[in-house]
């Protein structure tokens, strides 16, 4: 028993299998029209993934996501680090963050579409907005926790303000920043899907609703599985990266922040 | 009362890093006896106490309390930890009452008994304070009251005064002896201080480390009730302290790092 569960990756695989079995059984017992069994929905996945049009759609979605996420990284991390080292910077940004935290960023989609149209720019902007706050937050926490003594010795070695931020605070806060990055990545995916569900114009989220309207429930569920797999893939991929970069720091408390 | 029979404890931190914390420890403690355990840091004193408490299972051997093998914690054995381990979300009174209330003692009775104990440890004025608002010595007294509340026959005390300053410490030693003199519970008392051990105990057990085992047992033949002021002038007391301290030094030197 302990032997089996200690094989890495096996328990999650078994969990996946278990979830599929539960799904299958539920669908068969209840015989709901809106819940096709897993054995019907899953075969749709290869169909979707070999369809050129939906592949392009998904590629476009992922491209926007990458751009929005990358931009957010460039802006949010420095702000967060700065907030952690200066009480005035923290006092400046904190209330603003509190006010905008509960606003669902994907909900800005209709307004932003009004200004920027339904194209790439709106969707990318929404993803950017969705990811920024948690990134700032985690960088802030990480930089705030950097030991004062590290900075003293850096000053003693003659490092200036910016150099200290870059050479001392950033590496020391890196584990926490990466937690933020991981959270942000999953968030970016969520914002992307949601905003596409709201805009109903293109992308992964749109495919789901188009199939829903067409009554192609198998496809709906297959798409849900695909999106879920993307989330898991990002999560696992990032965890591997994180271990590489900051293997020295033990896995910090990662409380996933879902939804945007 | 307590019979520790051939107890060993091995910790398996990893497949290649096994650590024998206790090796074949045998000791019996009579009813109403006050026994101290001395030994270098890391020799397994706490582990031994936890095993008697039933919190940790031995790798080999067993512990009998009143001829019954220990299978887990029970209200016949009350621990007092070095770290106090008070419930931070409960007031002083709440901490002391917790065990009684959970045990189904009626509220009025639990309240009366808890207040009585708090008076005994001289903390009745602090019953509505939270642990974080107390000094170290006060916290330790609350912890002792909390344990005494459910009337264990055996007290298992792990360096209860270790984290306190010398003055508070001697004060609490006097308090403890005073409380103990009333109903003579069986006490297993871990400490680092030879003086403390001699002052309190009927017997002092010296352990050596890596692996932890009993090195020697000293009978402390001093009259009770004991008073600190008198004992400090007592030649026999001084001899015990010097003798045990010398043995302690030797033991510590032999200990590999």
């Amino acid at each position: 028993m302990t032997r089996l569960t200690s094989i890495p990756g096996l328990p999650p695989l078994l969990a996946c299998l278990g979830i599929l079995v539960v799904w299958e059984l539920l669908a068969r017992w209840y015989g709901l029209n809106g819940l096709p069994p897993a054995s019907q929905a899953l075969p749709q996945i290869p169909h979707i993934l070999s369809d050129k049009e939906s592949l392009i759609d998904m590629g476009e979605s992922l491209r926007r996501m990458a751009i929005g996420y990358g931009l957010a990284l460039l802006i949010a991390v420095p702000i967060g680090l700065w907030m952690g080292r200066s009480r005035y910077a923290a006092a400046f940004f904190n209330p603003l963050m509190m006010v905008i935290y509960p606003v669902p960023k994907a909900a800005l989609m209709p307004i932003i579409m009004l200004w920027l149209g339904v194209g790439d720019a709106s969707k990318t902007l929404v993803i950017f907005l969705g990811v920024t706050l948690p990134l700032i937050y985690h960088s802030y926490q990480g930089s705030r926790a950097v030991e004062e003594k590290l900075l003293w010795s850096a000053s003693a070695m003659g490092l200036g303000g910016f150099a200290r931020l870059w050479r001392v605070v950033l590496p020391a806060a890196l584990p926490e920043i990466l937690v933020g990055c991981k959270t942000g990545l999953v968030l970016a995916l969520i914002t992307m899907v949601t905003s596409e569900m709201i805009a109903r114009q293109a992308g992964i989220g749109n495919i789901v609703f188009v199939s829903l309207d067409l009554g192609a429930y198998d496809t709906v569920y297959a798409m849900i599985v695909i999106i879920g797999m993307l989330g898991i893939l990002f999560d696992v991929g990032f965890e591997v990266l994180r271990r590489r970069l900051v293997g020295w720091a033990d896995s910090p408390h990662t409380i996933m922040v879902g939804s945007a | 009362m307590i019979a520790i029979e051939g107890v060993s404890k091995r910790f398996d931190a990893a497949r290649d890093r096994r650590h024998l914390a206790l090796n074949d420890v045998t000791l019996s403690v009579a009813e109403g006896e006050f026994v101290s355990i001395l030994g270098p840091s890391g020799c397994g004193k706490s582990t031994l106490l936890y095993i008697v408490g039933g919190f940790v299972e031995p790798t080999a051997g067993r512990v009998l309390v009143k001829d019954v093998p220990v299978r887990g914690p029970g209200p016949d054995r009350g621990p007092v930890f070095q770290e106090f381990a008070l419930f931070p979300w409960k007031t002083v009174l709440g901490n002391v009452m917790y065990g009684l209330q959970q045990g189904g003692v009626p509220r009025a009775e639990a309240l009366a008994r808890s207040r009585e104990l708090l008076t005994m440890v001289r903390l009745s004025a602090y019953e509505n304070f939270y642990p974080k608002e107390l000094s170290g010595g006060m916290k330790q007294r609350v912890a002792i009251a909390r344990t005494l509340a459910y009337r264990p026959n055996i007290l298992l005390m792990d360096e209860p005064f270790g984290a306190l300053d010398a003055h508070t410490r001697t004060g609490l030693q006097n308090d403890l002896l005073h409380i103990w003199d009333k109903d003579r519970k069986t006490v297993l008392f871990v400490t680092h201080s030879v003086e403390e051990a001699v002052f309190l105990s009927d017997r002092v057990v010296m352990m050596s480390s890596a692996p932890g085992r009993i090195k020697q047992i000293f009978d402390i033949d001093l009259p009770r009730p004991r008073s600190r002021a008198e004992l400090l002038l007592d030649r026999r007391f001084q001899d015990y302290v010097v003798e045990i301290e010398k043995m302690f030094d030797d033991t510590a030197q032999q200990a590999p790092a």
Binding site: P11, G228, G231, S259 | P73, G74, P75, P79, W89, Q102
Partner: protein, 256 residues
């Protein structure tokens, strides 16, 4: 001295919020954007306060609040129970841990179409979505907090003759409370966000629906109002949460 510092920090904090409003006002007045696209903040807030007196608007807000609360509460109960149970029982943990590891990073919003198909377009599907989204941070925080509880606290209870299950709920859970509440706060914010989004995607009532209805009719001012409402709701819930938190954590050492 301390008061002065606190006030100056509050003032500094007000700067970006006021600045943002001022920028908004400036752009709206400069004629860069026509009022149909960007109404002035004055107009928007006037409309917001006017709506606060409108029973129809309040009904929508109440619907949103109900879904949010129902979902959040169920998520708290489920998350805490599962988290504590996983700490209490190894066998249970062996089942729950991998399932959570698989499900936690799944974007729950993607499940929403499935939820509408199985639970209908009404409250149930939205509450279910809130539960699915808010439960995981609470569960993880509870699990982590409870596994980090000093074992001697639990031992102290067990030694007093308290059963393992009771110890779990009377000692381990309260001791893990700071962590549980951290998770619950995240869950609360998520609940706020998720109800709104679900209402935007498909709904006939609630604040999210109001936003979509306004968008369809190109009533720009009315598009801003639900957003302000949800932000205010979030701030209020957060304040309420802090009150509860302070009471629950009275005996714990201050953070930081």
């Amino acid at each position: 001295m301390n008061a002065v510092r606190q006030w100056s920090e509050r003032l500094i904090g007000a700067v970006p919020i006021i600045g943002l409003l001022a920028l908004w006002q400036a752009i709206a007045m400069s004629g860069l954007a026509p009022p149909a696209l960007l109404p002035t903040p004055g107009v928007v807030f006037a409309r917001f306060f006017q709506q606060l007196g409108s029973p129809a608007f309040l009904d929508h807000a109440a619907v949103t609040l109900y879904r949010l609360f129902a979902g959040f509460m169920i998520a708290v109960v489920m998350g805490v129970t599962l988290g504590i149970a996983a700490v209490g029982s190894r066998a249970f943990a062996a089942i729950v841990t991998p399932v959570v590891r698989v499900l936690a990073p799944v974007p729950k919003i993607a499940l929403y179409p499935a939820l509408t198909l199985t639970l209908g377009y009404d409250d149930a599907s939205k509450i279910a979505l809130v539960i699915a989204d808010a439960m995981f941070p609470i569960l993880l925080a509870t699990y982590q907090g409870a596994s980090a509880v000093e074992p001697k606290l639990a031992w102290s209870a067990r030694a007093a003759g308290v059963s393992p299950v009771r110890t779990l709920f009377t000692v381990v859970l309260p001791a893990a409370m700071p962590s549980v509440l951290t998770g619950a706060r995240i869950g609360l914010i998520i609940s706020c966000i998720v109800v709104f989004l679900a209402e935007m995607i498909t709904s006939t009532d609630g604040l999210g629906h109001l936003l979509m209805r306004a968008a369809r009719n190109f009533q720009t001012v009315d598009m801003f109002v639900p957003l302000i409402a949800i932000s205010m709701l979030g701030l209020m819930l957060n304040a309420l949460f802090n009150l509860v938190r302070r009471r629950l954590l009275r005996g714990f050492p201050e953070e930081k």
